[in-house]
């Protein structure tokens, strides 16, 4: 695992969450252009996030029809209360 430079760690995490803006965004891009270690750390984190999203996308559990029927009955009961 490649760790980013000490001062850029938080910026890299916020960048992959599209939450880094303004000065810090510009600074990080500038830093990345000259720092292979941070580039590697960023690539690894982007890959991890993509892998996590892929795992989530492959999981599509659904409530069974009998559970929906039970829910509708409960909602009706709440409406009547």
């Amino acid at each position: 695992m490649t760790k980013p430079c000490l001062h850029t760690g938080w910026m890299i995490h916020r960048r992959i969450d599209h939450d880094l803006r303004g000065f810090w965004s510009a600074y990080l891009e500038y830093h990345l252009s000259g720092c292979p270690r941070c580039r590697e750390a960023l690539a690894a984190l982007l890959k991890l996030k993509a892998d996590l999203q892929n795992v989530a996308n492959r999981e599509t559990p659904k409530l069974a029809p009998d559970r929906w029927a039970a829910l509708e009955a409960e909602w009706d009961k709440v409406d009547k209360d």
């Binding site: 995490h13 939450d19 990345l32 690539a43 984190l45 991890l48 892998d51 989530a56 492959r58 709440v78």
Partner: protein
Amino acid sequence: MLRFATRMAAGNADLASDWVQDALIQAYRSYLKLDPEPLEYFRAWMYQIIRHVAYRASGKDQRTQNVEDIDAVADSSAMAPSPFDELVGNEIDVRIRRALQALPETQRMCVVLVDMEQLDYEETSRVMGIPTGTVRSRLSRGRMKLQELLGPNFSPHQEYHS
């Protein structure tokens, strides 16, 4: 919601369905007497209800799990692949799920909510009842720990290009 609940129930689909069912009933009851806030943050509000239902049902002892080593996780029967894992049969998925289970609960929740359920920091902060700064720090620690657990072979051999 069911996916999130299933993860909280460590792969137990029946238990997760119970929690989602309870949460949907509770959400509807609350909705009828609610202030406007839950509509503005509806998604976060629903996840928050699921989380409360799950915690209330499972009790504190089952909430926290600290496992330091992925091999220890793999050897633990509690961390054995769920029927869902076997169905998917994807080795990478199984490794990721096991590594996730090995994270401290507070970090795992942040990683699951942001990276898997795609909530933003503000929504995650509402679900967890913690400040957004704490979400960020738990998230970054959780991701670093996940990378450590998954090992070097899991890292990409690619360069970042701006």
